[in-house]
Symmetry: C3
Subunit: 193 residues, 3 copies
Amino acid sequence: MEPKTSLVSALFLFFLLYGTLASPTLKPSLKPRPPPHHPCRHLVFYFHDIIYNGKNSKNATATIVGSPAWGNKTILAGQNHFGDLVVFDDPITLDNNLHSTPVGRAQGFYIYDKKEIFTAWLGFSFVFNSTQHKGSINFAGADPLMNKTRDISVIGGTGDFFMARGIATLMTDAFEGEVYFRLRVDIKLYECW
Amino acid sequence: MEPKTSLVSALFLFFLLYGTLASPTLKPSLKPRPPPHHPCRHLVFYFHDIIYNGKNSKNATATIVGSPAWGNKTILAGQNHFGDLVVFDDPITLDNNLHSTPVGRAQGFYIYDKKEIFTAWLGFSFVFNSTQHKGSINFAGADPLMNKTRDISVIGGTGDFFMARGIATLMTDAFEGEVYFRLRVDIKLYECW
Amino acid sequence: MEPKTSLVSALFLFFLLYGTLASPTLKPSLKPRPPPHHPCRHLVFYFHDIIYNGKNSKNATATIVGSPAWGNKTILAGQNHFGDLVVFDDPITLDNNLHSTPVGRAQGFYIYDKKEIFTAWLGFSFVFNSTQHKGSINFAGADPLMNKTRDISVIGGTGDFFMARGIATLMTDAFEGEVYFRLRVDIKLYECW
């Protein structure tokens, strides 16, 4: 390789990389596939939801608060629960045991939003106040809950999770009839401050 | 220039520069207008909402699930529907024809939130699972729906829309009584990964 | 420069750039503590919430629209209002006086979400349309409202607050029985466009 050639190669390499960095203005179809992203923070938790059914008021962590014309507040409605709005305050654990010491609370709501199959829309927070984590992580997104895994957005965070953004992958880890379910939440943050 | 004057001048210059550096605290009206931003991705869709009215259960894509004391679940309430909470699973199309093949579903909720005029608050997702798009776009924001156009936030995305942020401009493209409306959604992403 | 050396240099350049790009993958515990962040914009507002109780329909700015099986639409439910969903359209003022000229409206919802103490989950917007501010700021997050201050996320903005992100610190500035409360909202934006 001659010096001149190597200079050309170096310049070529430079513009190649420069082009990659400046790419946001390129149309998506013209963009090369981006390299896979690596999270700056990765956390795994479980949370446990026990829906009030008229008899379990002591153990229930969630309750129906809105329902369609054909529904009520103690039994999830027909048509795949379409229209049922559930508020929850669920314990968060580090493993899949409901009776493990909670490390925080999952608080918010979900709404079943499809007549043909089970799907839901979620808006909730993980609220932590322990020696390990202080602060909250806020989530929103669609949950096509019959899929093995599904992704929602981490839309913000406070305290230890100040300004966080990322993706949370949900997985139904267990469910028992229409009263109990357990979700595994795999949180990958791609913006950490 | 006498020494004293020059000291005052120097101090003045110092505070002038200090003020410039500390500019985030300047009042917005004093800030120079930022250059216009260009989206890194631009998408246009339509979605179609048919509200359940007690008679159209087969076609309905949305239903009232919460209402104020003066409302019910099959007729939108008085006072500009203030307090009506609607859950929806609406088809998304590429043009304004309800009968075009859907390219995805708009899923989530809206709440009418003003007594004097029609306004709403929206939390929903566009969910895609086709050859063209896989993944979801999550939205939230206020919809002063009597305005010709109104902007809400793209608060996140997954799959093809991984970590997206941006603005969605809504436009009521058609409405028929209190049962059907069609929204045009102009999505401009300013953060693309 | 010999060919071999220039190849080594090019590789060095490549890994240097690669390392810079890949740096987000460091584990948080290995990262140096970040410096404290300074907001690029800081705003303080108050908003005022008057809940409909069956008698105050003229003054009410908020109403219960969802409730648990043991609740109703005119009285906040037992068990710390767990399950009550409230829609609001509250005046925003610059000081703590309910009768000051509003500079905008706070519109959205909150849900009481814990049986043992008062906590809520909030999704709402500040909507401005004055000479001073045009546009909206969108918020979401958990509100453990018995705490003196609590942080929620600014998840987006439009108009003058285009693409904003940040933290809003809430403080209960006053409350009167179960009908009126006033929140002080300290908005610190860390992403300004």
